[in-house]
Each structure stands twice: as structure tokens, then as C-alpha cells.
Amino acid sequence: MLDVNLPGLDGFEVCRRLRKVPATAAIPVIMLTARIGEDDRVRGLELGADDYITKPFSPKEALARVRAVLRRTERGAAEGEAIADEPLHVDLPSRQVRVGEREVALTRKEFDLLVELVRQRGRVLTRERLLETVWGYDFPGETRTVDVHVRRLRQKLGEPVDARLETVVGVGYRWRSAS
């Protein structure tokens, strides 16, 4: 749990550094802040925070959010399976992604977004649904967070796999399987 306004190094920078190092990249992060602007919330989430609590908050609410974030994290880790859509391979326990022989380094949220899209292949997923399932709670009015992550995901996956992540204009996104 990470306060944003910290002496020495702010919480955004601490979160960014955590996500950059493979050994700490998967640690769940909840940001705590008195800042309530949309830009701050989006920034925290885009840096890889799993949840965002605005001060003042009750310890009871904080505990509930900790439990919710850990449930989501453990559910993902316990699945112990791999997803493939040649040449894309996603190993869930190790959170490793390959396109052919090329390893693709994704942030925590990019990985979760990819898994959700590929699992629901063929179905159109709205931005709101993706926010709820990947970011974990309803986050109205900030669907551009999804767009930013989709853009980065396409860039990292590269051709020809990037084309499978289709934009459905006015609705959301769909993973179109090769098979």
C-alpha cells in the first residue's frame, strides 16, 4: 500500500520502479492519496497500480480492498494453465508471453488485459467491462485507460498478432483468433 505524496520519492515513482523490475513486477499495489483528480487516478493505474483509494478512507474499506486485490491476484496465479493462439503463447503461472520465439515483456495490466481478451476470443468486450475485470472495479469516465493499454499491447505484440486485437468502433475490443 503506497501513499502518493511521500518524502524523497513519490508513490508514482515507487510504483513505476516496482513494475520495472521482474522480481517485484507482480506485487499487488494499492495507491493511497489525497489527490482526487482524474489525471492522478489514471496515472496511478497506468503505472500498474491494482487499486486506488482516496483519502479520507476508513480502515474497514481499506481492508476490504486489500482482500479484493489479493483474491484477484491469487485467482490468476492458481489457474496454472497456458493459453495459445499461434504464434502467441501465454503462460499464466509465470506470466510470460511469447510470440513465436520472441519473448514479449508486458506490464501487469497489459498482461491481464491480454489474458482477458484472448480468453473471451470472438466476443466483443466493452471498455467498461474490461475496466471492471482487469482493473477490478467500476471506473466510469476513464475508459481511455483501456485504450492506452490496448495501444501499448499492440505495439509490443507486433505483426501479425497485433491485428487480432480488433477495435469495435463505439463499443470496445475483440480478440479475433487465427483458428
Partner: protein, 38 residues
């Protein structure tokens, strides 16, 4: 036991949160008050 690192420079918030997470959540909580130590 699951461990939580709480990086918070407001001592009152840190104390109340730590108590709640330890007592009702059963977590082990370590508190630090600045970014570099976090």
C-alpha cells in the same frame, strides 16, 4: 502469513491502518514513511 508493506508518512493513518490489517485481516504489516525505503 501474508505480508503487507505500508508506505505512508502520516503516522496516524499508518497506525490505524496497520492495526486494522493486522487485527482483522491477519496480515503482517511493515510500515515505512518515505519513498526510498518503500
Amino acid at each position: 502469513m501474508k505480508r503487507i508493506l505500508l508506505v505512508e508518512d502520516d503516522a496516524d493513518i499508518a497506525l490505524s491502518l496497520r492495526n486494522k490489517l493486522e487485527r482483522d485481516g491477519g496480515y503482517e504489516v511493515e510500515v515505512v514513511a518515505d519513498g526510498p525505503r518503500g
